[in-house]
């Protein structure tokens, strides 16, 4: 099968899932509102409907990017990074003295990182933000002379760049990997990673709703349960194994990589929840109806992408 027809099959499968999800969400709403006396549907069901509708939009956006191939995915993730970085930095303590450093983060570091990925310069994009941006952000800030809460302000900006730009850019960077026998099909690695990690989030939610009992981190994320975590990661790992035919991996290898990605995704979600809790907010933003901000949807992908990339690069592309 060609890469194109495999991608079509994937999107067809996801579309089918969404049709089922939409039907369930609408039926739940209908069951609540129908009857002799018209009633309001519950906030939970309304949120479910909003979430499913937003999924359609997100899948459509990813599909549009895939139409343009590797460059489409790079542009899409550059824009997502921009949206994520603004959500992250909005919640930080930056002061007037950080203005130039913030401008540099948004308008130099971010485009440069994605530009380096577009030209496939691994040697530089793998270290650009951890080395150059890391050192230059405090240098730019110190030139403005404001020392109040300096360490805290700089660290927050560096964290923002690392999570929202550097880590996220590993998703489109998958298209630059050269794997023997897999030439020209790298977009499928992006599809594999995004699908497995996002489905893991959905499955954790579903398992948690169905059989969730024991809270796993009540102080950080009261909604997450042991049952949801285990069920979600296990079923997403199986999904990864079932998708081996679109990857250069054996089924057991696909399962192992899916497990690594979803486990990282889970702990990543916890870390991002801790930051939100520290800042006293429920969501990162309000860009995606029903989900919250871009970072609320992508927190697990941020932590999964670099590990997945480097595992694949080390074992398959070395």
């Amino acid at each position: 099968m060609t890469a194109d027809s495999q991608i079509l099959w994937l999107f067809g499968g996801v579309g089918g899932l969404l049709v089922v999800a939409t039907l369930i969400a609408r039926l739940l709403r209908l069951r609540q509102t129908a009857g002799d006396a018209p009633r309001q549907s519950s906030p939970g069901v309304e949120n479910l409907n909003a979430r499913v509708d937003a999924w359609w939009a997100m899948v459509a956006l990813l599909g549009l990017a895939f139409l343009f191939g590797g460059s489409g995915v790079i542009v899409l993730f550059a824009l997502i990074s921009l949206a994520a970085l603004r959500e992250f930095l909005t919640l930080t303590h930056t002061r007037r003295g950080d203005h130039w450093a913030l401008l540099a983060a948004f308008f130099l570091a971010l485009p440069a990182q994605y530009g380096l990925i577009a030209i496939g310069w691994y040697g530089l994009y793998a270290i650009f933000i951890p080395v150059y941006a890391f050192l230059l952000v405090p240098v730019i800030a110190v030139l403005r002379g404001d020392t109040q809460r300096f360490l805290e302000r700089i660290s927050e900006t560096q964290w923002g760049l690392m999570l929202c730009v550097y880590c996220l850019s590993y998703v489109p960077a998958l298209t630059t990997l050269e794997i023997a026998g897999f030439e020209g099909r790298q977009l499928l690695l992006v599809a594999f990673l995004v699908l497995v990690v996002q489905m893991s989030d959905v499955l954790q939610y579903v398992w948690g709703k169905l059989i969730g009992r024991h809270r796993i981190a009540p102080a950080v994320s009261p909604g997450k349960t042991v049952e949801g975590m285990a069920g979600g990661i296990a079923s997403a790992t199986l999904l990864g194994a079932a998708l081996w035919w679109i990857t250069p991996f054996q089924p057991w290898e696909a399962a192992a990589l899916a497990f690594a990605a979803t486990a990282m995704g889970f702990v990543g979600g916890l870390v991002m929840s801790a930051i939100k809790r520290d800042r006293g907010v429920k969501d990162w933003g309000w860009m995606i109806e029903g989900h919250g901000g871009v970072l609320d949807r992508l927190d697990s992908l941020v932590f999964a992408a670099p590990i997945f990339f480097h595992l694949v690069r080390y074992f398959w592309s070395g």
Binding site: L82, R86, E87, L89, T90, L91, H93, T94, R95, R96, H99, L102, L103, F106, F107, Q148, R149, R279, G280, V281, G285, W286, M287
Partner: protein, 219 residues
């Protein structure tokens, strides 16, 4: 010709400003204390940037925008043709000589006139931009005097979060951080309420809208 061209340009310019502001600030309107209804109101907000009234104006639904006139300092908005065009034609701002300049006409008059015509106002009772670390500067008396002359008009506190970070004083390029505009519950001047008591109450109502996220910010 210019009679038709000018308003048309102003309308196009207004659309462009709204789109641009949405893109740069991702502004979210939070109607916490009142609904976006076309009642006559004085929206009074914290003031940290020249873009403040643009942000409130953008956050209002289009139907409310037309009758909401920002009050702005004549000294800044009269300087230069483009600024004058933006203030007068695009936003139909009420331009006032700021207090403390002595000899000119009472700055309250043009505002009271606009209220008399049934229009709403967007007002910054701190009088000047707040560039320090204090969340609010002491209010000037204008809000109280307007409330006395038009006691039926709702006074709605409006908290602007983050615009001062998007474009701090003296900077040229904006950083695209997210802004929010929170509309609180309307106040009215109480019978026999003193100026000080009223201004303190109005200030407290505005402070109370500070989002939790900025509570931890340096203050």
């Amino acid at each position: 010709m210019t009679r038709f061209l000018r308003p048309l340009c102003a309308r196009l310019f207004a659309r462009a400003i709204v789109i641009f502001t949405h893109l740069v600030t991702g502004v979210q309107a939070r109607w916490d204390g009142c609904a976006p209804q076309p009642t006559q109101r004085i929206y009074f907000a914290n003031h940290a940037s020249h873009g403040d009234f643009v942000l409130i104006w953008t956050a209002l639904p289009p139907a409310l925008r037309r009758s909401a006139r920002p009050v702005a300092g004549a000294d800044y908005w009269q300087a230069g043709g483009l600024r004058r065009f933006i203030a007068r034609d695009v936003f139909e701002a009420v331009l006032v000589d700021r207090e403390g300049r002595g000899c000119g006409p009472d700055p309250i008059e043009p505002m009271a006139r606009a209220l008399g015509q049934g229009q709403s106002l967007i007002l910054f009772p701190e009088g000047t931009r707040n560039t320090g670390d204090a969340p609010l500067l002491p209010f000037k008396s204008g809000l109280y005097r307007l409330a006395r002359r038009h006691p039926k008009v709702d006074l709605v506190p409006v908290w602007l979060a983050n615009l001062n970070r998007v474009l701090p004083k003296g900077e040229v390029l904006p950083v695209p951080l997210l802004c929010s505009v929170t509309f609180g519950a309307p106040l009215k001047l109480r019978a026999a309420e003193s100026k000080e008591a009223f201004l303190t109450r109005a200030q407290a109502a505005l402070r109370a809208l500070t989002p939790a996220a900025t509570e931890g910010a340096p203050s």
